[in-house]
Amino acid sequence: MMMGRMRTGLIVLACLVVTGVLASSIWTIAGNPAPVDLPRMLSENLERSGVEHPVTAVLLNFRSYDTLLEIGVLVIAGIAGISMAETTARADPNLRTGDTLLYALQRWFVPLMLVLAGYLLWAGADRPGGAFQAGAVLAAMGVLLRLGGTPMTFLRPGLLLRLGLITGFTVFLLVAVASAIAGEAFLAYPPALTRPLIVIIETTLTLSIAMVLLALFVSAPVNDAEDPDEGSPT
């Protein structure tokens, strides 16, 4: 008991020290002006990026290397999650509910969310929106469908799932390599094609992000009959 109390005290003390050091360093940084005026540099170069919204321009043009690696991380997380899954019956009876509210929600929300995802994707060019938001909405629509017991055969391990997971990453990488071969830098789009390329990449990214998130949700291993229930004493 004594050891436990000492341990707790030490942990609380360490966290307080870390928080204090962090806060004081932020206070110091906040007192000085920013060394580089990034927003000004960005607004000066915005017309070269092919889109009108600064966040989208950063994501898909100025710092597109980060976005490329990030979708790579997503694909790896999705594959790791799926490999953990115990594949269950195609239409899982545990997940099929007779909830009328859920059915009503599905009928109303699924078309609405499809339209919303399409709008968000397109709106990313000149206002807040883009591939990540659209992908999240699409994945949420898939979760809603899944909760209602829709089988979703395309999420079974197979060709469609693999294609869906890697499409965004592959298209992004192809564009990057193609621009490198054509004589520009890696991931530097040719100026005439910037906007169509960004639209293509964003669309495939949306599909892949939605697929990864949905696959991770669906692949959470479902209890087997012989396994202990969650929460019951073992």
Binding site: I11, T19, A23, F62, A77, L216
Partner: protein, 106 residues
Amino acid sequence: MTVPLLYALAGTVLCGIGLLGLLWLSHLLRKLLAFNILGSGVFLVLVGLPQHQGGPDPVPQALVLTGIVVAIAATALAVVLIRRYYHLSGMTSLEDEPPARKGGRQ
């Protein structure tokens, strides 16, 4: 003291709370939640501090946007791993002895 600076400082408090939960709690799901709180604190600092210095800055905002999606995917992966661990071992914490607190497995 401006509002964005307040956000950044609130982010440090969230970091502290998340770190405390990560170290102190033993239940794996609680650890995961604490880790997410820690990540949210980092996001708040990342957005708040540049905004205090020179107005809204799209570069850290874009970084946080990708960070949020990665955090969701990593959290989902962690939940899958935790459930697998629970099915294989029947335990919800990494320690062998049953912890005395309510947070762990009784």
